[in-house]
Symmetry: C2
Subunit: 345 residues, 2 copies
């Protein structure tokens, strides 16, 4: 579709249709638009504009005598035409400011809180992807003997901790384990997590069976930490909000959405490639992985200094309050960037 100038009145009309539809959930008629835009033209004129916008593929018609509904392309056009730096409601602004006013030290805790904040503020579901961790440094590794086996523990420079239980190899005595622990620590200390993974895989290759098992387990842990430390890699909040939305949605949309929310890898796919420079809005079928379901994702990355460390986003119906959501997500991402930068210093 060729990018073409639309004329400010058409843009205005489209805006009115989208916002009214989002507000009421009902198809919007020419009369309503004429009143709401305040353009000072009659509904007949609006009807011509509406017909033109439909011709262009931005609006559609459930049936002859119904009002107009925006298409995905219509939402897209609407979002692209939005003035930069949208407004939040005061309550939203205050909620966000209040949340970040507390002193917080653990980024993972913060992110968990962030999902709740975003979902409360926007009334949709929200997700947060913690730092990918590949370029983090390994601060410490430990091999601890417990009653039930060996516990291998890895601590990252930012306080991320990951672990795995290993069956205790009988052929290794306490001394051998201590040596092994030191050898592992020497190999990975102050390396990045991806380097540490490569290093441990290499070490596993040329070691005895018992040692190999431990190095392999370590490599697994590092692999895990690359995605995000700890046991959950994607944080989610406000799913209950989607239950309300569910009434308007197709059945399979709801199910697929919940499935995606449950499986982290799917959720990561939903957000991958989709989180660009600043703020990204993905509408309905635009997303490569969502097929034709009627959900939109608004997401933004946050950074510590200049390296990208994670992302936050909101998932809701295509008929969502883009202005409010975009402003909220942008604000939260900016705050998170500040916080992450500060924690890093």
């Amino acid at each position: 579709m060729v990018e073409r100038e639309l004329g400010t009145r058409k843009t205005e009309v489209l805006r009115a249709v989208v916002e009214e539809f989002v507000r009421t959930g009902e198809p919007v008629g020419s009369e309503t638009v004429a009143e709401r835009t305040g353009l000072g033209v009659s509904s007949a004129t609006i009807r011509n504009e509406l017909a033109a916008l439909e011709e262009l593929g931005y609006l559609s018609h459930p049936h002859t005598s119904a009002g107009r509904i925006p298409t995905d392309a219509g939402y897209r056009r609407y979002v692209d035409a939005l003035p930069p730096g949208g407004r939040m409601r005061d309550t939203q602004r205050r909620a966000i400011a209040g949340f970040f006013a507390e002193t917080m030290l653990d980024l993972e805790d913060v992110l968990k809180g962030t999902t709740q904040l975003l979902s409360r503020v926007t009334q949709y579901a929200s997700v947060a992807v913690p730092p990918s961790g590949s370029s983090e440094l390994v601060a410490r590794t430990e091999l601890i003997e417990l009653g039930s086996g060996l516990l291998l523990l890895v601590v990252g420079q930012r306080g991320q901790v990951d672990k795995v239980m290993i069956d205790r190899p009988d052929e290794l005595d306490a001394e051998a384990l201590a040596t092994l622990e030191r050898s592992l620590a020497d190999r990975v200390k102050d390396k990045t997590i991806s380097e540490a993974r490569a290093e441990t895989l290499k070490a596993a290759a040329g070691a005895s069976e018992a040692e190999r098992r431990i190095f392999a387990a370590a490599a697994d842990v590092f692999g895990d930490m690359q995605v995000g430390a700890g046991s959950h890699h994607v944080l989610i909040g406000g799913v209950a909000n989607l239950a309300d939305e569910a009434a308007h949605w197709r059945r399979d949309t709801v199910r697929r959405l919940f499935e995606a929310l449950e499986h982290e890898s799917e959720m990561l796919e939903l957000l991958r490639d989709v989180t660009a420079e600043d703020l990204t809005v993905t509408i309905g079928a635009e997303h490569p992985h969502t097929g034709d379901w009627e959900a939109s994702i608004v997401s933004a990355p946050f950074r510590a200094g200049s390296t990208e460390v994670g992302a936050v986003g909101v998932v809701g119906p295509t008929a969502m309050d883009y202005v409010g959501v975009m402003a909220s997500v942008r604000a939260v991402a900016r705050r998170l960037s500040e916080l992450a930068t500060e924690l890093d210093a």
Copy 2:
């Protein structure tokens, strides 16, 4: 309500109504019951029985000319009358056996897998509550200096790890920190987690401001571990299955359920007191915290040796396949007990 003998035919009729209703979701008529029970009596006789069962409060009538549907009390009676040791389908049995055939070392990982297993097998949502941990022993504590502050790490005897970030108190140098770390370790090593918590709170009381902060943080971590180590205390699986059920449910039921699933404390309340000796079935409004929503919970504890360590459960509509769910939950809980006992040895 007085517990009264019902007569085997009434029981049989009730059973038929419940099972047919669960299977089809439609109110059940006398004709259907007459055929399905194989009692060899006519539908007229069944009608008398149905009327009696309704009089007793076990069945209800959407309207005059509709069939019967079970009340909560009806499900209760049905469940209580079920022969012990219900049957699973072969596929269910196999799925469970297959899952536990693998060797597994980390109970938390196992529980995560368990929720997925149970939800796949039953087609409802499932939850797992990990060991409460109060009586676990503290295996190790560490105070690690990172770029961004101090990381306090606690490792439990079973491999549970919990942590908290603390702002580095400027007035403590490396040596003071080392002393503090040793002092903390001495106080809590090999104590139970509840003892450790009490101990740290005591230590916090009579310490300098900087030390107090650290002991207090430690107490927080122990407090956290009492509920369940790591960042999630209740594990959940198969929420997507509830989305399908949602069509049959009242709106607020769905929302409240999702909210409960999101807030761990609520979920713990749902399962607390509800998990008795063996297998517990809570039907609809029976549960003190669910108000009048139409959901049932089937749960069972699992133990390591003789101490109760956790619980698993399934959440679904009151019209659920109790036989299959009860058998599955019981089987999974038994397997988990075996595994937990073995890991403990």
